[in-house]
Symmetry: C2
């Protein structure tokens, strides 16, 4: 198929591509002293700065058969906003570092930026800077997010007696990935599961509100899997934990999808990863129905367990009342799923 002269990034060049991309995303607004186009951005914050970075790499974090370019752009932003929310911050700016094979179509990069623009607009975030590099390897979108910090919630604050809470539902990205891979399988709520996999919703509003709540003692987002991330949290806090499997919030269609896949639903719910929900602990005084919390978080909250003294261990109370050690079937980037 003949290609038009401007069809690949190699043909329009670095500066031609920058000119096109900067028009696609929000790059200015309050707080931007110096934006895209200089060696560095200069940004105003109202207090301390929350900062995080996370990459989406072709063939590792996504594949083109399951995600469109706009899904990749959305996800690259969303996973970073989730990290900001996970310490109670409010995201404001992103920097985007793209590593592109020269033969990639310009339309693909513009598609990625369409998804970046959608996620950025949805959460009032500005693209303040970035970088373009050539790569002989897979396409990579590496994003740094910067946000405002009010009260900061670390992983290490959980205390025995605290409840263990989670936003939204668990296992939906794993179920959605299965459905994306098996388009012939139809289950109720299937489209929402696929959307949760392709375009995870960062709990930006919930993170900011929970961060301000003095009863909230520790927080993390569920990128690696519910069990794995909970173990990160209790390890950092030096405490034990009990999770009640029967309380895990089940997304519509997950049991049916697991049935089609011949899988144990609990495996996806505890180990699936990529849900980007907020997993947090809160003292007994925490009331999810309190004014200023219920209805404004943008997601329901579910109490799934309790923090225990370290000596009580870390375990899961199964549906049949069977108690077993809480294992981490979550994701390790270099070992694969374990």
């Amino acid at each position: 198929m003949p290609r038009s002269p401007d069809s690949t990034v190699a043909s329009i060049g670095e500066f031609g591509l920058i000119d096109r991309l900067r028009r696609l995303v929000p790059t200015g607004g309050p707080g931007v002293v110096l934006g895209v186009g200089d060696d560095a951005a200069v940004l105003r914050f109202t207090g301390p700065v929350v900062a995080t970075c996370d990459a989406q790499i072709e063939g590792v974090h996504f594949t083109w058969d399951l995600c469109g370019p706009d899904d990749v752009g959305w996800r690259a932003i969303a996973v970073n906003l989730s990290d900001i929310a996970a310490v109670g911050g409010t995201p404001r700016f992103v920097l985007i570092s793209l590593a592109l094979p020269p033969d990639i179509p310009v339309a693909t990069v513009e598609g990625i930026y369409a998804g970046v623009a959608q996620a950025s607009s949805a959460h009032s975030v500005v693209v303040a800077g970035g970088n373009l590099s050539r790569t002989p390897g897979p396409l990579a979108v590496d994003v740094t997010a910067l946000g405002d910090a009010g009260r900061v919630v670390a992983r290490a604050g959980a205390r025995p007696g605290d409840g263990v809470w989670i936003t939204g539902t668990v296992g939906k990205a794993a179920a959605g990935r299965y459905l994306a891979q098996h388009p012939g399988v139809r289950v109720p709520g299937g489209a929402a599961l696929v959307a949760a996999f392709r375009r995870p919703t960062p709990r930006v509003q919930a993170g900011g509100l929970l961060g301000q709540n003095p009863a909230v003692s520790a927080m993390i987002d569920t990128s690696d899997g519910t069990a794995s991330d909970l173990l990160h949290l209790v390890t950092a806090s030096g405490v034990g934990v009990r999770v009640d499997e029967a309380r895990l919030p089940v997304p519509e269609g997950l049991p049916e999808t697991a049935g089609e896949a011949g899988n144990d639903p609990a495996e996806w719910m505890l180990g699936g990863g990529e849900d980007y929900e907020l997993l947090f602990t809160a003292a007994g005084a925490f009331d999810p129905q309190a004014p200023g919390l219920a209805g404004t978080l943008g997601t329901p909250l579910t109490r799934i367990g309790e923090i225990l003294p370290a000596s009580d261990g870390r375990w899961l109370m199964g549906r049949g009342g069977r108690r077993r050690p809480l294992a981490a079937p979550g994701w390790d980037h270099f070992r694969g799923e374990g």
Copy 2:
């Protein structure tokens, strides 16, 4: 050759590697409210925040035959600190996103972090966060640097009559690369040229001091090449420029190296790139010998030309008095050297 059980990043895993790496670099200190180990860092700044990101990709920005792992780590930090300096900022924190092939030796990653530690310590910068990803492709080190902003100097401030100045010397990275590729060639000052290529010195002190100087009107760093970066600056400022080739500050050994290579020295000096000097414009009142400037910048300054009205064009006055258009033989990531 048999490998020990912990010899690759795949064998020690993501979290084992994180534990090792965080011990190698400065991760705490003033301004770090929440550091490495949570979903996001929380950092204190004294005012607006300068932010930039830049990647070093194996086979694109470096090759293992010419650079050691510690050189790669140094360079990944240095090029970002240079961008902070280029707008008059002072770097304080970096976030490091590593994309690693699973079979890479742990020793290589630790070597990269040794270079990160050296560059960070040399410029009082703290590693505040990061991310590890697996990649099937080449190794990549993507760094975001954050710094304090005093007076901000953009590219767009140059006015006719301003002098064009540069720190240090030009073309040394290009000459150093040639010498690294041809270890049999010996020239006076050759070791310094190779060092300038492998471990560029970001002009951190100069950037902060020049940024505070009210006569300095526009600034950029020479990552793409003297001519190319000067053209970026004058384009952003909407002005013309004259560069006097005879005034370009020549590093020791460059003419001899160019002679050995059968190259025109001016080609390296104007188009070589990767020197990471600061190229800036300053009003007539600017005095490089003023107290608080001379001796404290850490580098000599040279006036290499003059900003002209846009209608006078952009040109180079050659050594023989021959006037020619200032061309941009600098680096375009997707087109290669043009």
